[in-house]
Symmetry: D3
Subunit: 253 residues, 6 copies
């Protein structure tokens, strides 16, 4: 086993990520076929639960795409379950303190590093030669969301927690805690300054930085700025925005 | 109760239809919000079964959109089930003979017109004042797919069957039986000639004609030609094509 | 194995049947606990499909209640599936001709009597000593719905088809084909005359007669009249009518 | 967007609430049609999980009824998920201390009031003009269950936590912690004294008080006493009690 | 695209097939990992419906195993649906006459050969270069079950129907129609004689012959006899028989 | 109500337990029929969620087998939900401290012993005479997993927590925290020494000790050593290992 997402980060390449919010393995297959490097099942804000997450991961297994999961919250039970089901990485919302960062790492790693419980029922099917245990602590990507003012205040301490592979920025929540309206693809100078600080501090520690984007055009700019994990499409938005566009053409016609 | 799709046809207006192939009530809601006149759950080629069809119809009920269902095949059991579940119209594939057209009408109408069995468990929730039975035979749209050479050979006889409200053209299947490759948004002159014949014969009998389109631009042209029921978006295509486009932008970037 | 419903008929006792239209194994358990002799999953007009039917039968297995299924239509595929899943009887809608009656019997019986295919994957779990095959042709109840004028015209010929264990009257459909509005618990003299004829002809042939009722009070009268299989409750009606009643109390209060 | 339940409370009107414990969107529709002001999906003691909760909320969206959810426990992950899925209020069990009350409010409110994460994927479909964020902190009803002796000991401090819109009494759990058997529709004088205290303290702070009732008759009395949120029907009880009643009529007959 | 099962037949190799009767994509993955050449979702006697069939096919897509489906009955609607969902072959029960054989071939082939309708929504994801249509008529395996005395009587005429790729023997049903008890792994001389006739007549026409076996040991013997498609494991039996064996060890211990 | 598992422990008998990791009520029925004393739905490492757990418990209710659930983690919400759904015992992973042991007991017991909330919607269906509440605190088995070095360090204090009915050993996790590779059926002398200590300390306090085994043969040895709760089969392993064995026979043949 190995994790192409972590390999890309080691090589300084940016990962193109898609987002699965529709609880359908068929929709997930359609996304997988498009050629993303990774797909993230969004159990936090998507209409996804554990079973739909498993179904999505089963459906994309045939494609050369790395399965990731954003869990609903920092809770060890669900983190263990999605890893056992085959997720190659966990994005965890609202990591605001070093203690939370440590708890996240612990939930994702077997002893002696952490407290993950052993039983990778589905994950081991796809591990090489039964060696899932031997490499899982290295392979699984631990991705902490930095998305509040509190997290920024604790940034260095959070990044210093051993075992954080990447951080992921939620622009809407970050904005809200800064007193700005929620939105993606932000341009405010104060936010840009924050992004630069995040990239700099993360780079010092060899930690990749990811961003949730609304458009590929914006994501491309962010890759140039240094982001190495960029979400650029969301199945629910593809349906919703695409349908609105088609209806608009008809109504104008 | 009344059926806005049939009302539009009576008034000569074209209906803008969306297509639901992803078995997800959430995806269906996103489509419903876009403003289509009607949404068709595709039980034939979509990844849909009876339960997902019910879930999609439940989810779009809050929106001003008329729920239609394309059934898998001319089979009275499933036609009755989707009508009982609240479909306001049935699109039935492969109506190639007058006998098949009669069987379709019969399955959609209560006696003495047809043989539909009474028990509109979900449909009656949304009927007005318990009067579902009184108006259902008028309200339900019976839509026969004309999509083979055999159907063209029998066209007038099929159209003469009392109770057919509309016909719906499947360009791929029609093409295949004519020796052409399957595709939407056809431009072949021989196909245009067929479309003209269909529109003319249907118009004589006050029957609306619908078409499955790949793009709204093509659909607009077809409305000008006389089509009154045009499918212009497909949730699965919105995801698949949209994702490919986004990834392409990233890979080029 | 044996079938308590058929045993009751042999002994001249009336069977009290409940109706499952809500696709929930939990709702089915609540019904099962109430003490019905049998419960019928309604795949025709209920919001039920094959999988919800299996789940309902699994959930009621712990209770002393005989599982029956009303199939959507006379189609051998689904009849075989529900029997394999453990149904002890099949109620089939719209048996209007002796040919349809014969097809129904054939679908429910193994050769040489019929054409049922062998593979009772779930049913055999609950058969005694693996002897499912040996007794299934005797145990399974074949119940033909008589619910149209056409069926009345063919009544004697239908009843003469060997293997029909019972007939079941659908008062709404029967009414519709007679030009009456659909309803349960009918009182029209012409309908009573029909019921008397049905009871008399069936009794001659040792065939039980069942009726779909709206209230237990009416069902009790019908048992006195000779009916031996009476549906008296419907989970969907219990919810819908009960909720309306509770809200009415509150609004008056 | 606005929340009719909160509007009613502002105007001093009592809200008539129904309870959804059967995991079925169809059952939920039947309840919705009955005319309740609000319906609460019970994820704590009902046979409901996140996906069935979403399905129930989708199915009742077409009706003028406000969707609420009782979450299984005070856990921010699931609170965020049901709000994102469109719940207009959260009932949280076992709020026994001011700290728990604060955590509940925090989970339901965006910064700077709380720590809810932004991503109302389904909720925003039904928000007006994309303005979900602008009004959500005002619209969402935060309802803390007071149902233990410990909560009574901390009552004033709990009620003083800013952001609690209502409290909801669980008579069974309250009884248990007082050494009484679990039951609804209690009449014990000591309990009445507690209810009076709750109503008085809540009224001082403009907080509505709700009660879980077993019958509409009892609920009416409680409205006169001052309760402004009264649960009066439960789909599972409607099935279970109704079926028992019907069978009893038959067995007596 | 190509079909490794048909390739094996062309090369005279025997295909080792597994059987999926448990409606679980996870169970299907476990089977897929075991190294079968093909896996057949059993929609006839297994606890499978269309949606569970799709889920099983999605889950095994990552493995080098060819997905086949046994449909419930000869019905064009479901045959089209499983092919559109990605089945590379259809096993159809109870093909007893040349007319039934022709109907089966027709349902599996596009015009001009047959009457399959075009819309391979999931299948095309895994077709090469969008060329699904071009090769599907060649790639899809049409497998007719020969399992009754009537079919034996019509054997040559059935085998002469163009487009039958293989026949599949159901030993239980075959036995029943011959007056023998249902069982697998038969040894009766009269059955062996039948098998020899089947193999001889099929070989003449270049048609592969398959058999449903209860043990791999018996299947190996049958391969030596000439069978080229042998089912040797069944997930439900692996659970049921394996659990009985483990409990027996414990009870004896 | 009573709990046969606790009865067995009182009488010093060993309980033979099966393990459900496949999310299928059908697979659960097959396991139940095999004759285990108890079956445990594994929500931690199995592909199970709350709804599949309920379905499995519904399906095994007809069999004389006691339903247990391993919850994903020590979280009161899910513990309450599985008990309300009818679990007769809870196995909780990773009980490492007396505080965690107390929290587990509290979540499983009604006041005044614990903090379980009342509402046994499904459990009460199967309680005797509505007396679920009266005996639940005695009947429900509270089973703490001892599976880390930390738990061993705290062993006596954990066992001294009132209300722990049994402990359950996870050999893989125990091994990992001891620096050994994860596996079942361990033979290392240091592990045997630990098992002996666990059995001795538990016996002093009348607490049963359970073990997760890979084979019945090993389990029999462990029963002789003193274990009174032995898991000996796992549905997922029966499928996976059984299929591998069958394919191996074929490939060798």
């Amino acid at each position: 086993m190995s994790n192409p997402v972590k390999d890309a980060w080691k090589q300084g390449r940016a990962v193109v990520n898609g987002w699965l919010g529709i609880p359908s393995a068929f929709s997930a297959e359609l996304m997988a076929k498009a050629g993303f490097d990774s797909l993230t099942v969004d159990m936090q804000h998507g209409i996804q639960d554990y079973m739909s997450t498993v179904a999505c991961m089963q459906a994309i297994q045939a494609h050369p795409v790395t399965p990731l999961v954003r869990v609903p919250w920092l809770e060890q039970g669900i983190i263990g379950k999605v890893l056992d089901a085959g997720a190659m990485g966990v994005i965890c919302p609202m990591i605001n303190t070093p203690a939370e960062a440590k708890a996240l790492v612990s939930a994702c790693r077997y002893a002696p590093v952490g407290t993950r419980s052993f039983g990778p029922v589905r994950a081991a099917i796809y591990g090489q030669g039964g060696a899932y245990f031997d490499t899982a602590n290295d392979d699984i990507a631990v991705i902490a969301m930095i998305e509040t003012k509190q997290a920024l205040d604790n940034l260095e301490a959070i990044l210093d927690v051993p075992g954080i592979d990447a951080i992921y920025i939620g622009p809407s929540d970050l904005g809200i805690t800064l007193g700005l309206p929620p939105r993606l693809d932000r341009e405010e100078p104060e936010v840009m300054t924050i992004y630069e600080r995040l990239l700099k501090e993360a780079a010092k520690r060899n930690i990749a930085v990811g961003l949730h984007n609304g458009t590929p055009e914006y994501a491309l700019k962010m890759i140039k700025m240094g982001f190495r994990f960029t979400t650029v499409s969301n199945d629910a938005a593809l349906v919703g925005v695409g349908a609105l566009r088609d209806v608009a053409v008809m109504r104008k016609g």
